[in-house]
Structure formats: structure tokens, C-alpha cells
Amino acid sequence: MEKILEMRNICKSYYGNQVLTNVNLDLFPGEIHSLVGENGSGKSTLMNILFGMPVIQNTGGFEGEIIFEGKPVIIDSPRKAMELGIGMVHQEFMLLPGFTITENIKLNREITKKNFLSRIFGKSLETLDIPRMRKDARKALDTVGMTTLDEWIPVAGLPVAYKQFVEIAREIDKKNLKILVLDEPTAVLSESEVKGFLEVVRFLSKEGIAILFISHRLSEVLEVSDRVTILRDGFVVDHGPISSFNAISIAEKMVGRKVEILELPKRGKNLDETDVIMSINDLHVLMPGEMVKGFDIDIIRGEILGIGGLAGQGKLGIANGIAGLFPSNGSVYFEDEPFQLNNPGFALNKGIVYLSEDRRGVGLLLDESVEINITATAIQAYGEFMKWLLFLKIYDKKAIRQHAIKMIKELDIRCKSPSQPVRRLSGGNQQKVCLARAFTLKPKILFVSEPTRGIDVGAKKLVLDYLVKMNREKGITIVMTSSELAELRSICDRIAIVSEGKPSAILKPTDSDAEFGMAMAGKFQEVIMGER
């Protein structure tokens, strides 16, 4: 059979950062081809290239060629991709909530009739042919198995699964559809919905549509695909018929990368595993996009605990919830006393300091000086660096300056002076300012999220080394959340992997790649374990 699509030797870099290297991908008509990889492995970039998204052109285009039905093509806009017959169902719903299902399905491809005005002013004034549009929409909905869904109700208020089906119905309504890209379509579906969904996918492939299926859930990949391609760090690490893989081998290949075993300094005394500094039970956090749905863990005094997991699974929500930045509930005990959630002031006063993943949004006052950034929270929460002036208690500029200079030296913050606004510092130096601020608060537990995101290699090492140093010298318990598994494995004592807002496993940094991969893939772990 002739290949419908071939992507050959695709290379792409963003600002000198190579994200795809010699990636090859091919697709036969009627085949379900899965594309798997961790966050940041290059899946989205590859799909953006296939779909001609503007972000690719704006960042200097890509190398390599795309061959569609045997002929090389240039896809420079999503419109071109659609004309060729490539459809995509996005992770976020691209639906207009106030419009009816029919209108959404037919958006920008409406069926129209000529009328008096359109004869004079042209096609854009033609009347919509609602009955025919409804008929088409009905047919598309029936195809995806939504036979009971009325095609004339608004999209707003539909359950998420239905929205997902409406998106697919919209794609298959396009008469020339040859390739359908499904970007993590099952992420928002429940188990029973997934079942129905996979059936629709199989049905579409029988109709001759080639399907490119992107998912983190290995069980679905194994169940539905014909072939699989595994990406890691922008390389294709393996590809082949699904029968030659199992969940473990896929997981291993997804995650597997050399872990730098740093020579970590030894602790003065070993951790006492019965000495729990904070006990978290059934923590729920309402953080949009990072919902935590019942997380439990006991944090041991003096350890470095890692929290890992895929994006959107809730790992970021945990620290945000404890710090009181997002509404949360659950029973949390700190040093055997009940801990008040939803109260940032309480957390700070107990010595629980949180360093946000959103450095510029939450962590810094961009237009303020380095010294104020370092000390403002300490002034606010603990009333440090204050002095009396007659009847007013005001902050002491001299003490602030002294402390700032000390921290700047200790963390090697590159700035012109302590009074320079942090907006002008580089990402790495801004992160160091955040760290200086956190340690000025003399934390008992430091929650630090994505401490190395968006900073250069040198600063990265310094940040991690400093965290280890403070942990070893001052005995500060550190809970580090990161999407870089390698980083967690290099400095943590234990790593909790979060999946679907719940802990899926607590692993040692020395555990195998396969175990980490399986834990991240989450929910269907038991099923897969059964197969093993």
C-alpha cells in the first residue's frame, strides 16, 4: 500500500535549542499510528510542523521534507493543511461555547444559499442553509456514535466527553479528511468514555482515515494502535509494529536517559524515617490545569523530597495548595499540629516557604530592586529589618542593603547593584533572587517548584547545589517539584510521582527507568502490571 504521509529528516530548533533531530514518521491509509513521549520530547513541535502552525514560520521554519500522497508538499499555514485533508483535534477545545453543535461543526464551512443581497454584494452575504447544515452535522455525530445528542443545542454546558466528540465530528465532516491527528484526546475522558472513544477511532480507521494518536496512556496506545513511534528529547528512539512492544519497553524508552549521579555531600546524621515533619492526607487543590485530587505523603524531617509527573497531572498543585495560593482542603499536620490550609500567612509563620514555578508572575516584583525583592516578604511576614523612628516602625534600609549584599555574594547574583530592578536580570539571576528571598525567611520546609525552568546550565547547577547545601548545612527540609526527572533523580532522597492528581508511586532515585515511566503513565498501572 502506498504511504499517505512521510515526514523525512525533520529538524527544528528554537533559538538555537535543538528540539527535533532527524525525525522520520510515516503513515499508511487506515492505520492507527501512535506517537508517544514525555512532555518536551518534541511531539507538539512535530504536529505544529505538520499542521503549518505560524509559530514554526515565526521561529525560522524547519529542515526536512513532508511528502503527502507521494508528492513533496509545503505546508505553510493551517489552511493549507486542511486543504490537503489533514485534520486535528486539539488538546484544548477549539469550540465556541455559545454556538450550537451544528454551527460549531460547520464553522467557516457553512452551506449557503444565494439571495437577493448576495447577488449584489457577493458570497459573504449568502443565507445559511440551516436544514442542510443540520443534516450534515447529524451524519457526522452519528458516525462518532453520538446518536442521542441533539445537533441544535449549544456547546456550552455539554460534558467534556461530548465536546471531544463534537470536535471529532467536526473533523470528519470535512469531506476530504485523510489524516486525523488526535492530540491527547483521552486526557479529559473517564474510563468508560475512553472505551467508546477508542471504538470510534477504530471505526474511522476502517473508513480509510489514517490516524495519528498522541497519548500518555500506554494502555490505550497498546490497545488501539497498529504501529508506534517513540520520541525522546527530539530523537526517534524506536518505532515499529505495536506487537513488538509492551508497556514496560515503551515506558523505558520514553524516559530512559543517562542520569548524572552527582556526588552528593553526606549528611551529618542519617534521616530518621519516623520523624515526620509534615503529614499530608487526602489533599485536594483546585488549581486550574493542575488539580490535586487526594494526595497523601509523609514528609520526613531533613529530606529532599521530589515530586514528579507529567504536565497537568497535579504535581504543581500540591505546593501551591500547602502555601495557600489556591483553594484546597484535606487534613495536613505540621510537626504534629493541625495545619491551616488556604492561609498564606499561617504557612509563612510556621516556617513553610514556597518558591513558585511562576517566577515572574508570583515570585518577583519585577520593577522593584533586588534588595527589596529579597527582603520584602521577611519584612511583611516576620517584621524583620525594621527600626523605630519616633512613633513609627519603618524598615531599615541599611540592614536591608547589608543583607542583600551578603546574599548576592553567597548566591553569585550578577547585578549592577542591590538597587537594580530585577526585570533587567537574566532568568538564572532572577531565580537566584527568588532563592535568596526564600532562604531569608529561614524556612523549616522549603517548597520549590521548577527551580531550573528557563535558566542556563551554569545557573542550573548552582541552584541545585545551593539547595543541597542548605539542606545539608541547615537541615532544611526541601520539597522540590520538577518536570525534569533527571534533575529530581540527581538530588532527591525520594521521588513521589503524581498521576491524575494522586500519588502513583514513591520511588528511589536509583529505581529503573521503566518504573519511572510506568508511574508517570499512571492510572492503568495495575492493568499493565497484570499483563506483565
Binding site: D358, G361, V362, L365, A376, T377, I394, Y395
Partner: protein, 346 residues
């Protein structure tokens, strides 16, 4: 060289234009032979007179609410204080200080209520503040007629009920500050007491922003999430800022009135907010950042400009164009600041 370009970058273009205009007026004054010294003395009086009202903008701007367009609310509080002091027949400094004290007492609950409403309309404070100002002025226009003031100097001569439009303060506390330690050299007068009072309030506000609650307001205005994560109760911080601003407005109107010599009721408070907003903006403040320096620079430039413009321009142009000038500059400045706001947000 670098320092100089940095300084130039710091100065706002509109501020620069207005300063150049002001310089031009001075040059014109010399050419047309208008006596400058009394004009400067007059400017100093006007700076002190308006300064505290402009200062009232600082707390709200720094708390992230934007300029306090609801200035009339505080002004009403101040007017009530002054009126009661007059009704009690207090004169001189006693009358003045009692008026200030009463103004603070009235402004505290007014500010609390105002902040409560503003909290309900987060993001729309400027618009809502403006309309709240309109509403309270309309409401008080009725109240001025109904409140039981009875001093013959204050009520209408005919009928004996209801407060007059304009009350003369000469027999009460008119120009008590202006005359305090006044320096007079020929036709040049320095209202020392007035300027000292303005300087004093500036120092107080400056110090306030170095206290914990002041810093909390600053943090809230600059980055609310940072403030929350620093344990700041941002609602309370905004509340304090609004109350503080309202109190300053109340005190400001008394300073204004004692220097002007008259207490203006009814619709007069409406026309106080926009010039005050314009002043601080001319001084280089933006909708979310303001310093004491902005207040002093802005008030100086704007008030000097208005003082000089009248006699000088009347030499070259026919009629009084000061009022027109005032409108153009104050409204233009506010418009400029508003149009620039979204750019700063990103």
C-alpha cells in the same frame, strides 16, 4: 553621558512638553514685562493649597487601584468637619485644627464604605470612583439644604435655612496657615506655614510607605500574587489605602479652603478630582506607580503653569484662557495616562 540619557529617558514626554511650555511662558512674561516675583509667590501659595489633595492620589495608585477619582467623597468629609467647626464658632488655629480633626473622624467611615464598594468592583475602580463622586456630591447638595446648620454666616440670608454656595472663612480660620511665619519681601510673599504643612504631610506619607502596612500596600499594587504569597491580606491593604486617601482628601480640602478663603459647597467638590489626578500624572506618575517626588514635581509644574498663564497670556491674547488651558492639560494628561496603561500591563 550615560547618566544623562538615562535621566532623559526617565522624564515623560508630556511632562517635558509641559515644562517647555512653562519655560516659554516665563520668557513671554519677561518680554511682556509682567512682574514675575508676585507670580512666583502666588504659585507657591497654589502649590501648598493643592498639594495635599494631590498627595491623596498616592495611596490608591500604589495599592493598584489607580488614581482616586472618588476624591469628592473625602472632600465631603472635610467640608463637614470645616462646617461644624464654623458652626461651633471656633476661630483661628483652634477652628482649623478642630476642622481637621473632625474631617478625619468623618473620612474614616466614609473611606471604609468607599473601599467596601471598590472591593466589589475590582478592575473598574476608576470609573466607579468617578461616579461615586458624582453621586455623593448630588446627595450632599440636598443635605446641605437639610442639615441643621444655623450660624447666620453660613445659611442663606433670606429664609434662614440651608447652607450658602460659598462661605467666607475670613472670620474663622481663613489663611491661618498662609499667615503663619509668612515671609514678605516687597511684592513677593512666601506662605511658610502652608508650605511647612504640605512638607509635613509629604514626610508622613513617605514614612507611612516604609512601615509594614505601607509596604503591604506597595506589594499589593505591584504584584498581588507576590503579596498574597508574602502573607499580605490584600483586601485589607487596599482598604487601608482607600481610607488613607480619603482622609488625605478631607484634610486637603480644608487646606485648600483656608488658603482660598472660602468654603465651596454644592457642585464645587466635583471639580477637584481631575486636576489632582492630572497633577500627579504630570509629575511622572503612572496609573500604578507614584512617588512623593511625582506629587511635588507635578503640583509645582501644573500650578505654576496656571498661575503664570493668566496674566501673561492675557497680555498676548484677549480674554481669560486659563480655564481652557486647565481643562486641556488636566483632561489631556488623564487621557494620555489611560491610553498608556494597557501597554504597561504587558
Amino acid at each position: 553621558m550615560n547618566d544623562r540619557t538615562a535621566l532623559l529617558k526617565k522624564i515623560d514626554i508630556p511632562t517635558l512638553i509641559i515644562v517647555l511650555f512653562l519655560v516659554g511662558l516665563f520668557v513671554l512674561a519677561f518680554i511682556t514685562g509682567v512682574a514675575v516675583p508676585p507670580l512666583i509667590g502666588d504659585s507657591l501659595r497654589r502649590i501648598g493649597m493643592n498639594g495635599v489633595l494631590v498627595l491623596a492620589m498616592v495611596p490608591t495608585i500604589r495599592s493598584g487601584i489607580g488614581p482616586n477619582f472618588g476624591l469628592p467623597i473625602g472632600i465631603i468629609g472635610g467640608l463637614l468637619g470645616a462646617l461644624i467647626s464654623m458652626q461651633l464658632g471656633l476661630v483661628g488655629f483652634v477652628g482649623f485644627w478642630v476642622a481637621i480633626l473632625l474631617a478625619v473622624v468623618f473620612c474614616l467611615p466614609l473611606g471604609l464604605g468607599y473601599s467596601w464598594i471598590l472591593e466589589k468592583v475590582r478592575g473598574q475602580e476608576m470609573m466607579v470612583g468617578t461616579y461615586l463622586g458624582y453621586s455623593i456630591v448630588a446627595f450632599m447638595s440636598i443635605m446641605w439644604l437639610l442639615l441643621p446648620f444655623s450660624s447666620p454666616d453660613m445659611v442663606w440670608a433670606i429664609g434662614g435655612k440651608g447652607l450658602r454656595y460659598t462661605l467666607t472663612l475670613n472670620d474663622y480660620f481663613g489663611s491661618v496657615l498662609n499667615d503663619f511665619m509668612k515671609i514678605k519681601i516687597g511684592s513677593f510673599e512666601v506662605p511658610t506655614g502652608l508650605l511647612l504643612f504640605f512638607a509635613g504631610t509629604c514626610v508622613l506619607v513617605y514614612l507611612f510607605f516604609k512601615t509594614r502596612i505601607g509596604l503591604a500596600i506597595d506589594l499589593t499594587g505591584q504584584n498581588e500574587k507576590y503579596a498574597i504569597s508574602s502573607g499580605v491580606n490584600t483586601k485589607k491593604a487596599r482598604q487601608v489605602a482607600v481610607i488613607f486617601s480619603t482622609v488625605l482628601a478631607g484634610i486637603g480640602i480644608i487646606i485648600y479652603a483656608q488658603s482660598y478663603g472660602f468654603l465651596q459647597l454644592y457642585r464645587a467638590p466635583l471639580y477637584m478630582a481631575f486636576p489632582a489626578v492630572a497633577c500627579i500624572l504630570i509629575g511622572g506618575a503612572s496609573l500604578n506607580r507614584a512617588t512623593i517626588t511625582n506629587v511635588i514635581v507635578g503640583t509645582t509644574i501644573f500650578q505654576t503653569l496656571l498661575t503664570i498663564a493668566l496674566p501673561v497670556l492675557s497680555q498676548v491674547a484677549r480674554g481669560d484662557i486659563t480655564e481652557v488651558l486647565r481643562m486641556i492639560i488636566s483632561n489631556g494628561m488623564i487621557l494620555y495616562a489611560l491610553s498608556r496603561a494597557p501597554k504597561e500591563a504587558t
